[in-house]
Amino acid sequence: MTDHALTPTSHPLAPFPPPQQVPRQRLALSHARALWGALFGTPVNTAITLACVAALAVSLPPLVRWAILDAVWSGPAERCAAGEGACWAFIGEKLRYILLGFYDQDRQWRPLAATLILLGLAGMSAAPLFWRRATLGVWLAGLTVALLLLSGLPDGPPVPTERWSGLPVNLLLTTIGMIGAFPLAVLLALARRSRMGGIRSLAVLFIEVTRGVPLIAVLYVATLLVPLMLPSGLAIDKLLRAQIAIILFVSAYLAEIIRAGLQAIPDGQYEAARALGLTYWGTMRLVILPQALRTVIPSIVNLAIGLFQDTTLIVVIGLFDVLNTARNAAKDPAWLGFYTEAFGFAALIYLTVCVLASRYSLWLEARLRRVER
């Protein structure tokens, strides 16, 4: 994010003009000059650079010693307790539990396959080649297969959602949260810009109330209050309640993003559509929304990254996402207290996903700008 902000669009590092037009040697030179300018261009930059180098010089050697040189890579917990460094043997022992949690060990290929499907779907939709209607069908099919895999069906006894845990839960809540919120968010955004006062007020009320409370509060309501309000005998699964809460919560934020996209469409587009004799829904479906959504794709990716990180809040309602399984791995009396390694590993998972996603979002912004030209 920061490097993007630091790079003005006219800067030689920016993707425009296309790099092929610049001779290779000159490009390397300008790269070096840009780097020098960024690091030592002004007194402030020089000070920041020197401060960063000093901080790294102090913190890096102990970190390397702890994480690599003195680390224990295999063996029992006793060997770790004797050593000075990180206990990566703990991660090796607990890897299955951290990633898949309480899922039946003899059927662990199911959550693994579900994880791969969800990651594959996300990766596929990242390529603009797949931004078409058929992709929606692929998504629905993929999600259905992933859900079937996780629930242990159709071959074999069903696996209750209490045992779904670890990384698949994060991915499932994020993907279904985004996809489920999408139609709702489009309707909310349109309603908020509608000329019909009643519908507009309802949309404003829903969006502002939802955005006014934290996700934790919404999750608490879904877990603690909803079951008390339901008639006795009717119980909705806890994971499903959390998922619905997340969909509703995300839809409010997504609606605001889409509304921003709608506002960016010039009035001429509406007028032209009407002149062609299109109805309101026809105008929206064929003319306005395709353009509006395209402009806000980067914001939507950012929202998805945020949601992926937020799914870890399901800890407070007793569900086990990958951060919670990592934390609980260090509570096994046989491997007691390796919290640093556990949290470090979970951080690494989050970091990988989020860095990939945010780099993608940067690339996407650049590409969309190019398309506009």
Binding site: Y97, A235, I317, K331, A334
Partner: protein, 361 residues
Amino acid sequence: MRGLSQSSPPPRPTSPTNAKGLTPRLLIAGALSLALGLALTGAAKAGPTLDAIKARGTIKVGVGTQPGFFSPDSNGRWQGFFVDFGRALSIAVFNDPDKVQFIASSPQQRLPSLQSGEFDILLSGVTQTFTRATKLGFHFGPVVFYDGQGLLVPKKLGVTKGKELNGATVCVQTGTTGELNITDFFRQNKITFKPVVIEETAENQKAFASGRCDVLTQDSSDLAITRTLLPKPDDYVLLPERISKEPLAPAIRYGDDQWLEIVNWVVNATIQAEEFGITQANVDSFLTSNDPGIRRFLGVDPSLGEAAKLDPKFIHTIIKTVGNYGEIFDRHVGPKTKVGLERGHNALWTQGGLLYAPPFR
């Protein structure tokens, strides 16, 4: 007699309108008292919780996450002191230790979740209190673990009793009952202390480890684990005093007497087995015992199981699978484990503890 009966006015019929208004209510009241009478005279009836458990085929047990008491192992299987009691209940109801679903829940939400029916029983180390039993509507089974606030000190202080801590600095968490308890403790013993008040548990422990205070005070089961996580655990000692009462007991919702009795007697059975000297290893050798008490207890004489409408051998299976109370304690939190707790109050009454099972007859 006669004079009396003459002097009293004859019973007057109530006005017709009144009678009309009262009759349905009277009928309901009558039916209710009749039902109550039947319920009181008859055996404990299966209630909604046990019916739901049997229909579902598993018991839903609410647990916490604390090393030794409940934690998942590398295979994602729950292990721990309270977890074994959940398995014992599963044996009593289904004759199978694995028909039980453990559901983790945080301290803030565990009681509301029990109330809303998310669990059939809460085995998450809930302290039995008056308000929880009356206002909140929970029944408690027998106490399975007597916890209490403890005092952890470095060995080099040379202190063996809390009373010797005059003038000590004490690390304590803000806003907890622990803060009040420690103040009361020092006041009662007419000695002084300097509190170091910190909000975060982890920071509190760090302050203690770095020597900012002489004493760390928390629930003793927490302190035992804190001690193992200190850089040199053997340099510290948990003093024998418990300055507050935290009896941890299984909790269930009101409204299911039979379920409550199963909980009661499963816990009692593990305690009684220890008193009889019956262990996981030797339980089969007791099957040929001539002692009528042991024959009844293990179901050789099936009268107890029949009375409880359970498998007559349920106690035998429980001991064979999870062991007696002492074995469960030693396996998960005893001196030989990393948690390293002494039995203390959790010893049998015959050995100076508080565990006392009512007779099995």
